[in-house]
């Protein structure tokens, strides 16, 4: 029996992250895979100092479901760490993700630089395929 395929996608509440979740959900449906939506909690967010009210997992799951995936195939996780490290760990967990997905420009990204870009750092360090969903991509 083949091991189940899991796609992990990062979500920080930004519009680009939402587009990435929707794209990953559609791919998961096409592959018969499960979708793991991951939000990384950093030092500031843990302390309530991040300057926003927090990231709503229900929103992320709703985006995925609206893209066509069965709600039972979506998992939402909040993990400690910076966004890049948190996603990298998803590819090393006991049931490792076989693909990582991230939006090209999260809430703090800088175009064209490795430092300051979760997507480029992820592509640099990941040992599984990474899909970077461009900011121009729309789910509809």
């Amino acid at each position: 029996m083949r091991a189940p395929v899991t796609i992990a996608v990062g979500y920080d509440g930004s519009p680009d992250a939402g587009s990435a979740v929707a794209w990953a959900a559609r791919v998961a449906v096409a592959l018969g895979a499960r979708l793991h939506v991951v939000h990384a909690v950093g030092l500031l967010e843990h302390a309530g100092l991040a300057g926003h009210a927090g990231v709503d997992g229900d929103v992320a799951v709703r985006i995925a479901v609206e893209a066509g995936i069965d709600p039972g195939d979506v998992e939402w996780s909040v993990v400690d760490g910076d966004p890049c490290s948190a996603l990298l760990r998803m590819a090393e967990s006991p049931e490792p993700a076989t693909m990582l997905v991230v939006g090209s420009r999260g809430s703090g990204a800088h175009a064209g630089t490795l430092i300051g870009s979760t997507s480029l750092e992820l592509a640099e360090h990941a040992r599984v395929p990474v899909t970077i969903v461009p900011s121009s991509h729309r789910s509809d």
């Binding site: 400690d80 430092i115 300051g116």
Partner: protein, 346 residues
Amino acid sequence: MTTLVVAGPAGISEHDGGPYHPEQQSRLFAVMDGVRALELEDEVAYPAIREASLDELSRVHSSAYLAELEAFCARGGGDIDPDTYARPDSWTAARRAAGAGLVALTELERRGDGIAFVPVRPPGHHATADRAMGFCLVNNVAVAAASRTAVGERVLIVDWDVHHGNGTQAIFWDDPDVLYVSTHQHPLFPGTGRPDEVGGPGAPGLTLNMPLPPGATGDVVRAAIDEVARGTIEDFRPDWVLVSCGFDAHQADPLGELELSGGDFAELARVVQEFAPGPGRLALFLEGGYNQLSLASSVEATLGALLGVQGHRPATTSGGPGLGQLRADDTARLHAIDRVHMEVGP
């Protein structure tokens, strides 16, 4: 009395994250208030600090990362991740912070005596070989440790910051000349530091993680270092003892949920001091600590304990959770070390 070598402050007017970021310049004013409260007069030395060279930084960071960081700052900097920022002067600030640690060890060696304190920012222990994170750009304690392993010496790093020092662990993961010992709240950023993370095939057992639950008090942290880690440390026989000296395990700190007092840091310091092989071989590197009142009092208590100075010493804490977990984790750690040995083979 033993001389206190203060290599810093560095970062007091650079790397400005603004008034709402907890890792701010004014932390160093609080830290220096703690030093001054000891009224050491002639028994404190302030060696001139310098920037670490690229060669010195490259012992622990990739050349590509250093070039990226320098260029990022030169372009004006910005947010690196939701926690971590750089400014145009952050490259210089990071090099000075790392250089201060090098100066501290050089000064201790020259004197053959003394205890060094390195009050610098940005902090360092989250920075990996090729990534900035967790407020950290350059790993200051790692740069200092690597300067000693480069000449054949063995270094113990004790990290009692409330957050696990993932960067330091990763840098020395497979290095038989560095023993990394960490107490930290778990779960908490950065998510690493499980007891079964024990080091690579070249250094099995030389990473020793003791995660603690929220609410853990000073007696638990002290037991971790004094009882659980003592045997490993004594077997390792370090030439130097460096402390990643975060004060954010304090009960008043906004970034963690451990329950230590300034008096607990003093007791921890006295335990760690016992591991130094002789005078002039102990240096404390500032990492976290974001409540400025507790930062000042904790610095005073910690350094006062090491120097034998009667200063303000808050009461120690006890009774929090975590002692049982420490013992269970010790078993898990031994099994993990066995697994590494089996993977390496005879």
